[in-house]
Structure formats: structure tokens, C-alpha cells
Symmetry: C2
Subunit: 158 residues, 2 copies
């Protein structure tokens, strides 16, 4: 529901590349393992992102994927564009044209929600998600932790 599984893969993969590919490219294998998604399918997805200009891909040893723009300039709309049409304002009831004289029954009330959806994808950046992932994960039970350093497990492989 809401967006396709491929778009979800794309967002998660781009966030991963943004976090781990600052100096060296990130290969498909590690990304697929980290996200637990099928490797070859992710390969196709990343290739689509490369064609869309979101990622830069390099073959051979020392190859992999890197962002072409800083995370703060990369929106969810850009990342999902190859797989999802988030730019258009979709009619809730599926009409190709909806609005004005040809409005469907739900148009008036759906319109504001639809606009909010568009806004979300157009304004949220990968940098936002990186920040939230780091800051927003405070457990409900507040426990003062002296050194706020990186404590995450980053389990390499089993």
C-alpha cells in the first residue's frame, strides 16, 4: 500500500549508499545483505536509479554505486520517480483526468490529502532520513547515555 516495494527498496538503498558511500563506492552485494533484499533485483533497481541520474555506477574492481548529488539535494520524489509517478496528483478513484469540470465524487475532499502527499515526497530529502535515523531512535524509556558516540552494531556478516 501507498508505494511499491521497488520504491521502498530504492529509498532504503539510497539511504544506505548515502551513509556508507562517502569516500568509496558501495557494491550491490553488501547493500542487498544489509537490506535483506534479492541481490539481482536490487541490481536492476540501482541501475534504474543510475539511468535516472540519482546514482553513479562503476563496473569492475573498486566499482559500485555512489550518489551524484549531496543527500540534502536529493528528494524522495527523485528517488522514486523511475518506479512511481508521485509528481502527478492521482485521482483517488482512478480517473485519468480529475478536477475542474471532470471531477470525480471524491475529488474535493481528497485534493488536500493528495497535495500533502506530493509535498511530502517533493520536500523530504535523503539527508532528512539520515538525520531522523540517527536522532529519532530514542527508546520510550529515557536512559541517559553519557557518550553519544556510534554504538550501533553494524554486524558485518554472520
Amino acid at each position: 500500500m501507498w508505494i511499491s516495494g521497488t520504491s521502498q527498496y530504492a529509498i532504503r538503498a539510497v539511504v544506505h549508499v548515502a551513509a556508507h558511500g562517502v569516500d568509496a563506492p558501495v557494491r550491490v552485494g553488501p547493500i542487498a545483505e544489509a537490506l535483506d533484499v534479492p541481490r539481482n533485483y536490487l541490481s536492476k533497481t540501482l541501475h534504474a536509479l543510475a539511468r535516472a541520474g540519482v546514482l553513479h555506477s562503476e563496473r569492475g574492481p573498486r566499482g559500485g554505486f555512489q550518489l551524484t548529488v549531496p543527500p540534502s539535494r536529493l528528494t524522495l520524489a527523485q528517488v522514486t520517480a523511475p518506479f512511481e509517478d508521485v509528481k502527478r496528483k492521482h485521482c483517488l478513484l482512478g480517473r485519468p483526468q480529475c478536477g475542474g469540470a471532470h471531477a470525480c465524487a471524491a475529488h474535493a475532499r481528497w485534493s488536500s490529502v493528495s497535495t500533502a502527499l506530493q509535498q511530502y515526497f517533493a520536500s523530504t530529502t535523503i539527508a532528512d532520513l539520515l538525520d531522523d535515523a540517527r536522532a529519532g531512535r530514542t527508546p520510550p524509556t529515557v536512559r541517559a547515555r553519557p557518550t553519544g558516540g556510534p554504538r550501533r552494531a553494524t554486524s558485518r556478516r554472520p
Copy 2:
């Protein structure tokens, strides 16, 4: 995108029944023609709505479908419930559990949009759609049309 085709059929069909089934039940055939959707598939969809308690179905001559509750008491959430899980707040990135300590990267910013979506389906009623369909369809170019009778082509098939 956003909701399934079956859910769109369901909403449109229920609106049609609400508008045309005030005194007598409405049969599948006319509904399918009016909405231009496959007849037998719509039959299954309406049957699911009957099982869900949204519609009352009657077989045989003078049979058809009618609402079980007034349109002002029937929400989009109820109509789409058999086909879509709009009650749950879905994680944008597809996690089964998302929030609190196990929040995904997008959770914080997506949450408010997700809530707005839920609110829309929970608070919008079929009566709202009936009103909007009648009132909201004023064309930009105002042309007084005396008899607003059925003008659709209803082209059978080529």
C-alpha cells in the same frame, strides 16, 4: 497508486447504489454498465461488501443491492475495508513494525501524512461524496443545460 482498483470499484459502486437505490434494489448489470467495469468481477466485489455488512443483497427478480446504513453513516474506511487495510498506519518503507524504538528512517516525517490519510478514510462518508458530486461539478465555462439527463455514450465494444 494509493488504493487498489477493486477498492475504487467498491467506492464508485457504493456511491452509485446510494444515489439510485433509495427505494428499490440496484442490480449488478446496470451498475457495471454505469461504471464501465467488468460485470462478474463487480459481482464478486459487491458480494464482499455484502459479507462485510455494507450492502444488503437479494437474489431473484426484484433483487439487487441496497445500503444497510444511511450514506452519512458509511465511511470510505468501511467500504474499502474488505480490500484494503486502511485502519493500520503503514510504514512507508514496508516494515511490519515501525515506530518508537524500531522506527524506520522515514517514520518521523511520514507519520503526520500517514495520519492524515487515515483520517481521510475514517471521516469521509458516502454522503460527502454524493454532495460533492452534485455540487462540485460546476464547469469553469458556465453553460446552462436545461435537462441534465443521461448523455453518456455507453459504447458496448468495438
